[in-house]
Symmetry: C2
Subunit: 198 residues, 2 copies
């Protein structure tokens, strides 16, 4: 390899990001090096600024420049309606879809026997405390439709039942715009079973 260390170091760091391999990291670095003042320094500044400014919301676990975050402090949102998600990525995805008019709660993971994640590793006690103190009426479990997601759904349902809040989960079925013949069998069977009258 070419022994100019700052470049190799940068490529190595960039290629650790999801979605970037060594090859694409190298291309990206080369493109930036063509115009460092316009492409590299602003990115370095932006990384610095984001690292300085962004922190987890002490209420819901969202990442924002303020804590509590702008969702938790938004007075137009229904605080009786909380949506439980695995991570911040899911929260952002639901926000982009304008799917939810309440607040969120980031679990920070899923129960996983294999991964060694137990209830104490997740933000469950703070969720119970919020349900109590805010008088939350409905908890929407928006966890992934995986084995760990289902396990966590079951566990949370049991833990949350005594609070008296309604517990719901996202509907499962055929994705909008999805052709039937390319869907996996599990989704197809679940959608068939959960069919609804028109």
């Amino acid at each position: 390899m070419i022994p100019n260390d700052p470049v190799e170091h940068l490529i190595a760091l960039l290629s650790r990001l999801p979605g970037l391999g060594r090859r694409s990291a190298r291309r990206a670095v080369l493109k930036m090096l063509m115009d460092p003042a316009d492409k590299m320094l602003p990115l370095a500044e932006a990384l610095h600024a984001a690292a300085e400014a962004v922190r987890p919301c002490e209420t819901c676990g969202n990442l924002d420049t303020t804590s509590p975050c702008h969702i938790c402090t938004d007075t137009h949102r229904d605080r009786k309606l909380v949506c439980v998600v695995e991570g911040v990525a899911d929260l952002w995805a639901l926000e982009r879809a304008h799917a939810h008019r309440g607040t969120y709660h980031v679990l920070g993971g899923l129960l996983s026997a294999l991964g060694g994640t137990g209830p104490d590793d997740l933000s469950i006690t703070p969720l119970l405390r919020r349900i109590e103190s805010d008088g939350i009426e409905e908890v929407i479990l928006a966890l992934p439709a995986t084995v760990d997601g289902a396990t966590t759904n079951h566990y949370l349902t049991d833990r949350l039942k005594p609070t008296g809040a309604t517990i719901t989960r996202l509907a499962q079925g055929v994705p909008i715009g999805g052709a039937l013949d390319v869907l996996d069998d599990g989704t197809l069977a679940a959608a068939f079973k959960a069919r609804r009258p028109l």
Copy 2:
């Protein structure tokens, strides 16, 4: 969108890199935000360091921390043998392949009637000067096998002929490990025409 500006700004900058779309930039930023001190600040530092340290080599146009670059100053390299490439990415690719034991010359582009790139936009006069001053014996044109590459090959051949240096170009044919039935017709026809006795 979620109005935390430093994050959106960072996603916008990252998604301008080749190989990263908005979606993957968002994923990368989220992953970094999980651990800013370990993931974002080092990257910011590395970008800064590279932008500060790296400059184009005044001799060949390579990007390196020194000028002349480590290839131009390497006494083990044959200075009578120069390989002409379109850009630094091609130079690095040839270096990774250990294909060339001489020096390089980065043109900085290709002649293109459509793109409006003329001979004066490329590093041709410095190349002529190097051929003269270093007594270069062979110029290897390692330009892409495209229309613009072929145009530039022809133009350079005409310009370099008076120097007396031997002018060669890379062989074209079937890639190593390439199956014939998936190759494009142009490559197949060129490889057939340029067949060699065993």
